[in-house]
């Protein structure tokens, strides 16, 4: 559905998107994840035919985004960031205008506008001026607009931005239901959303793709960073003995909490569960253990790590991916 090859976009000397390539298969929901300014919106604008790329190629629904822009725009339902709308129009009026622009007409148009208003929950607001709607409703009107011509591909730029938790859940359910009929590419900087909605995650940071996998796989790979928190009491260099256990990559001793208790954090290899070994060692050495806690990292950790790692491209710590 989407085929992006070596896409680059530069604005006045700044590279917003740097040589990215990725594919989206029909029927997938793909999450575009990255901190603000990572290049998500730029990529989506290029894919929706709004602006050209500096170099590289992008095919959407089999059409080139630059040379066959009109065909691309017919195949795509695009919802821009911040959901810009004509504030002087009423909801129904606006959606009818948009539906007509996108090629629907007559009774079919009216019926379809009724459907999308029902689907996105703006039916009660259909006679209201868009300028008087709350952010949440505007967002939904923009979503209804993106859906109205039954596009093969939905490109949604931060669809849940500015919504309250209940509305976010509604949008998420809506997207799940749309899956059978549409392919969805959505951007967000909220991880939770991606984990719950998307089949695949494309992580982008500083204009480059840092990861492209299912949320499950990403989390599994992350298990390599499993942390084990220990609080125990014993003499001598405990860290050295703990590190000697098979599977333990590194041990750090944290600051004393209550004397004589000592706190350690162990970085453990992905396939190892060292809890038994730690206990056996403790019993053999006659250490006292009062806490042991294993921490499985979430996507959040990768995200934070990626966001903090403002360094050189490809500079993702190996223990993260």
């Amino acid at each position: 559905m989407i085929d992006v090859q070596n896409l680059t976009k530069q604005y006045a000397g700044r590279t917003a998107v740097n040589n990215i390539s990725f594919q989206v298969e029909p029927g997938e929901i793909v999450g575009f994840l990255g901190p603000n300014g990572a290049g998500k919106s730029t990529t989506m604008r290029i894919l929706s035919g709004y602006m050209p790329a500096t170099s590289g190629r992008a095919l959407v629904a089999g059409f080139d985004v630059f040379h066959q822009s009109l065909d691309v725009r017919r195949a795509v339902g695009y919802m821009p960031e911040m959901a810009p709308l004509y504030t002087d129009m009423k909801v129904k009026e606006y959606l009818r205008f948009r539906a007509e622009l996108k090629g629907l007409s007559g009774l079919a148009m009216r019926k379809r506008v009724g459907e999308v208003m029902e689907l996105t929950g703006v039916n009660d607001m259909r006679r209201r001026l868009i300028g008087n709607l709350s952010k949440g409703y505007r967002q939904r009107v923009a979503l209804a607009d993106a859906l109205v011509h039954r596009p093969k591909l939905l490109i949604l730029d931060e669809p849940t931005n500015g919504l309250d938790p209940v509305q976010i859940r509604q949008v998420r359910d809506l997207l799940r239901n749309l899956k059978s009929k549409h392919t969805v590419l959505l951007s967000t900087h909220i991880l939770h959303e991606v984990e719950q909605t998307c089949d695949r995650v494309v992580m982008i940071h500083q204009g480059r793709i840092r990861a492209n996998d299912t949320p499950e796989n990403l989390t599994r790979k992350l298990r390599s960073t499993t942390l084990l928190h220990l609080e125990l009491e014993g003499p001598g260099n405990l860290a050295e003995k703990l590190t000697a256990l098979p599977g333990v990559r590194k041990t750090t001793e944290e600051k004393l909490i209550v004397h004589p208790w000592r706190r350690f954090t162990l970085r453990v290899e992905p396939e190892h569960d060292v809890r038994d070994a730690v206990l056996e060692l403790a019993m053999k050495q006659k250490w006292r253990v009062r806490e042991m806690h294993r921490q499985l990292p979430t996507l959040e950790d990768v995200f934070v790590e990626l966001s903090m790692n403002a360094g050189i491209p490809g500079d993702i710590p190996t223990h993260v991916l």
């Binding site: 822009s69 725009r73 795509v76 709308l85 129009m89 948009r98 996108k102």
Partner: protein, 252 residues
């Protein structure tokens, strides 16, 4: 073409739901009233060669309204969409740039024509109320309204272009006002100064002097040269507008 009509309908809708069209309409009606009254008092004071039509469009009041109309009608066309960000929604729908530019321009021309309708009533009414004493020559009427529409088309194209340059409506209004005024003053200025230099300069300047066009057309003379001049300049400015709007799509 279907897309063009849909866009035109939407643009007309935005004109008439916003107060702008009505405010401008009221302003033009008031100023027209003054212009008409000025023309009547000229005719009353002494016998005159000119008709009520030509005196109306020579009144200072007419020119006052003339310069305010164009910036007010065109300033929001593109600037507002840029500000709201709706240009992005608009151009990710299957529309072409010329359809958008054409629809916005034609909508402003239609609203502009509507603005002059009440002034027609002034002339009809004066002729009726004075039982034909005030003569309203048909040729002068046709000429006057023809040149009004054509001059309007030129200035609206300039305003359209100004609006496409910026996301600030005030800036758009100032650019369009300045360009229209410069065009007008060029005609006046060189006509005044030119007489001191040589008469042939005056002949050249008359080709683009708006006051001269009004003078000829309100006398009932329909000259094709000003028509060609204004229409081709309108097309030029619309082409500029199209390029400015489309530039986004080509900027690497």
């Amino acid at each position: 073409m279907r897309i063009f009509w849909i866009l035109l309908k939407k643009e007309l809708h935005s004109f008439f739901v916003s107060p702008v069209a009505y405010v401008v309409l009221a302003l033009v009606m008031i100023l027209n009233g003054f212009a008409f009254r000025a023309a009547l008092s000229v005719l009353e004071s002494a016998p005159s060669e000119g008709s009520i039509v030509s005196w109306t469009f020579h009144a200072m009041w007419f020119w006052l309204s003339y310069f305010f109309i164009f910036p007010l009608l065109t300033m929001r066309l593109f600037a507002e969409e840029k500000k709201l960000g709706t240009l992005e929604t608009l151009f990710t729908a299957p529309v072409r740039a010329w359809q958008v530019v054409g629809a916005k321009y034609l909508a402003s021309v239609i609203v502009y024509c509507v603005l002059w309708l009440p002034s027609l009533f002034n002339f009809k009414f004066s002729s009726w109320i004075s039982a034909g004493q005030v003569e309203v020559p048909a040729g002068a009427m046709q000429g006057a309204y023809l040149i009004l529409v054509v001059m309007g088309m030129f200035n609206l194209a300039v305003g359209c272009f100004a609006s496409s340059l910026t996301s600030n409506q005030i800036v758009a209004a100032i650019i369009s006002f300045t360009l229209s005024l410069m065009h007008f003053l060029l005609g006046i200025f060189i006509m005044v100064v030119g007489r001191k230099i040589s008469d042939s300069i005056v002949d050249v300047v008359n080709y683009f002097a708006a006051t001269e066009h009004i003078r000829i057309f309100t006398a009932g003379l329909i000259d094709s040269r000003p028509l060609a001049y204004y229409l081709s300049l309108s097309l030029l400015f619309l082409a500029f507008t199209h390029h400015v709007v489309e530039f986004r799509r080509w900027r690497p």
